[in-house]
Symmetry: C2
Subunit: 442 residues, 2 copies
């Protein structure tokens, strides 16, 4: 509950120092200006952008800022005693990390959307905020305008969360949506062509690696794991596989079996051991699952709790306006908390074992190009059986040189499935082993 009684006659002024004035920084400056009256009316707090630190004073930017407010010296901003709270919108590890630590040391709450920094140095920053007894808020770092950090930090108090599954990268969801639409319309759904289209439309960057290979989603998954389970997980702990090897043929098979393919971040905790598993990979999602309906560049986060059942949060994952809106919400919260002399906290983070991908279990789709001759199915299924991987469904498509076997397994351990794949590759009757795709249940 963050609204406060509006019974003080004099508004408290809160002076904001903004570090960086790119897309998000500029949108935030604009939001503070247009919404200051509304916030004052509701909370009695007057928000003001007091300083904006930029690298280049004369660069063109999306918002007009007085020369008296602009500065090139970010360090002076976080050390300025007249600044009440700091918004970090620079991105990257340094100098953002050092500036945030200084701001907290100086008693200033910090708001950031810097997922790279949080996913790599989160534990250090959360501990610094704890020590300083100040807020460190980062709603915008994961899934842009969707208030998922707040939900995990607050709404689900005492709720035993078992799993969080998210579509947390808009670029890859856009590409997979377009590939799927093309396949369903009878086209090829070619990855490279779709990526080029996404780049032309501005949905993918010129170097798309961070998005399409799952690094971006992996960083967000690490942050979700930390907040949802109170454990220390860094980006490097996250197994990630991107979408660059997803083919139109796989999308077509998935469709026929009642699934669509999504790039998911999956964050799980084993109730008994407390071990966590954090991974990002293309996944077959049943068409009736709410995540299957999340199209284009939208994001969604699906939370499974012991009491509350399934919850999903859906919205824009990126873009200046949604991100700035989330940052702004955090600024208001931090300002209210600061005036009250209180602050939020993630509690003490504890260490948890992060399972290697080999130790995790899932159902798998596996397709094999095979010789169309008697005994092939028998030979192939024998390999599955020898590794204790049990088959839930099998079918043959095509004949002769196009013969292909498609299997969906029951839940099996990754290590056993990988061993199965390796051995299948050695069989004479197997011409090619297609990519493995993991499956989530309803």
């Amino acid at each position: 509950m963050n609204d406060v009684q509006g019974n003080s006659s004099e508004p408290s002024v809160m002076r904001i120092g903004v570090l960086g004035c790119g897309n998000v920084g500029a949108a935030l400056v604009d939001l503070v200006r247009t919404q200051a009256d509304t916030v004052e009316q509701r909370t009695g707090i007057r928000l003001e952008v007091a300083r904006v630190a930029v690298r280049n004073m004369s660069a063109p930017r999306d918002v007009e800022i007085d020369d008296g407010i602009l500065t090139r010296d970010a360090s002076a901003v976080v050390n300025d005693a007249s600044i009440d709270l700091v918004v970090e919108a620079i991105g990257g590890i340094e100098p953002a990390r050092g500036l945030i630590l200084d701001a907290l040391k100086n008693g200033k709450p910090v708001i950031t959307a810097n997922k790279e920094l949080l996913a790599n140095c989160g534990a250090e920053l959360y501990a610094a905020a704890e020590l300083a007894e100040r807020d460190l808020l980062f709603e915008a770092a994961v899934a842009g305008g969707i208030p998922i950090m707040r939900a995990l930090r607050e709404s689900l108090h005492g709720e035993p969360i078992t799993r969080v599954i998210g579509i947390i990268n808009g670029t890859t969801n856009f590409i997979l949506t377009k590939m799927t639409d093309a396949v369903l319309a009878g086209g090829a759904g070619d990855y490279a062509a779709t990526l080029a289209e996404a780049q032309a439309l501005g949905y993918a960057e010129r170097d798309p690696t961070a998005d399409v290979e799952g690094y971006d989603a992996g960083a967000k998954a690490a942050i979700i794991a930390t907040v949802a389970f109170g454990v220390k997980v860094v980006a490097g702990d996250v197994y990630h596989e991107g979408i660059s090897r997803v083919s139109g043929a796989e999308i077509s098979i998935a469709d026929r079996l009642g699934y669509c393919i999504k790039l998911l971040g999956i964050i799980e905790r084993e109730p008994e051991s407390g071990d966590v598993s954090v991974r990002v990979h293309p996944t077959m999602v049943p068409k009736q699952h709410p995540l299957a309906s999340v199209r284009d560049s939208y994001n969604a986060v699906f939370v499974e709790g012991g009491f509350v059942g399934s919850l999903m949060f859906f919205g824009r994952g990126a873009g200046g306006a949604p991100t700035a809106s989330a940052v702004f919400g955090d600024v208001v919260d931090a300002a209210i908390n600061l005036r009250r002399g209180t602050h939020g906290s993630l509690g003490d983070l504890h260490e948890a074992r992060v399972l290697a991908i080999d130790e995790t279990s899932a159902e798998y789709l596996l397709s094999l190009d095979v010789a169309d001759q008697p005994g092939v199915l028998h030979a192939v299924t024998g390999v599955f059986a020898s590794h204790n991987v049990s088959i839930r469904a099998a079918e043959q498509e095509g004949n002769g040189p196009d013969a292909r076997l498609v299997f969906i397994t029951h839940s099996a351990q990754e290590a056993a499935v990988q061993a199965t794949v390796r051995e299948l590759g050695t069989l004479d009757v197997v011409r090619n082993v297609g990519g493995l795709i993991r499956v989530i249940g309803d």
Copy 2:
């Protein structure tokens, strides 16, 4: 931010008085017991169920409660100085209203899931909470376990919300889902038969009126309007139309045009005038809209904001466990706020004009059974034109005695559309005017 620093060595004990021990009350008592350790570890607050007021001391209940805790005297609980906060789980207007007012007057925060009470007497209760400087929290009153009240109260600070659209009644969504599945499978999708099936499965009550005629959704829509826009709206202000007149034929037409039919609560504010419109009615939803994918008894609330774009919150709308989970989250929040000597607030509610349904605008689907003869389309479209209702799409289905014209209008005012319908009914060539169904855009 509601977690607090865990630096006090002695936990503060918070003694909870629970009024009512039905489905939700019993699940809450159980949750407090099983989650008390986790909450204490995280917040330093020890939650205890100190008293439980019930009507019948010897009735069977889902949870074991010591005789020393049970009482028949609810009034004694809210007047007991040793009780720190009160959970109202009785339902209905009285005695719940009086007990809540007394509890607040005595300085006790109150948590309730009582939508009927809030939708009728909300303004009085919020004012009493304001005066007492205590929390009145009611996350569970709308959409069960979905944290939508929190999102509207907090996450969207300063976000200019323009519209909230919700599937906020699980029973009707279950019935419409089953009717639609039947129609798509080639069946009739009969309303009465589907209702009977829902009753047999426990998804609909023996007297289903409150659900199927939109009263339940209307009460929730009033609460949403109050929280989202800070205005006084009561259940009686809400226009509601239920699903009992939705036919399989309409579902089939909608499907062919790319829509599904959902019972929606729609809460809008006109940006210039500040007038609000709050209504519940069957609505054609484009199949690609995220609300279209919300099946069975699930609920979802779709929020449209100026900066954040579209957000959707999805989850279980009812049931003892999700509801109790939401109540429990509120209990933890209220306990933390109480210890900090602070509380949340909706701010001062203001009066707003609630538009009559005649004044609202939408697109409409209208189907007419007509004589299959030259000049019919001309005669019919002339009626639309004379009322300034412009047609976006028209098509004829069937021939001869089965001839039917289906129209979708551009956005038009309800009063003009109703006048059009009345006049169409007087035409000789029109044999029957089907129900109007409003359409929401993408």
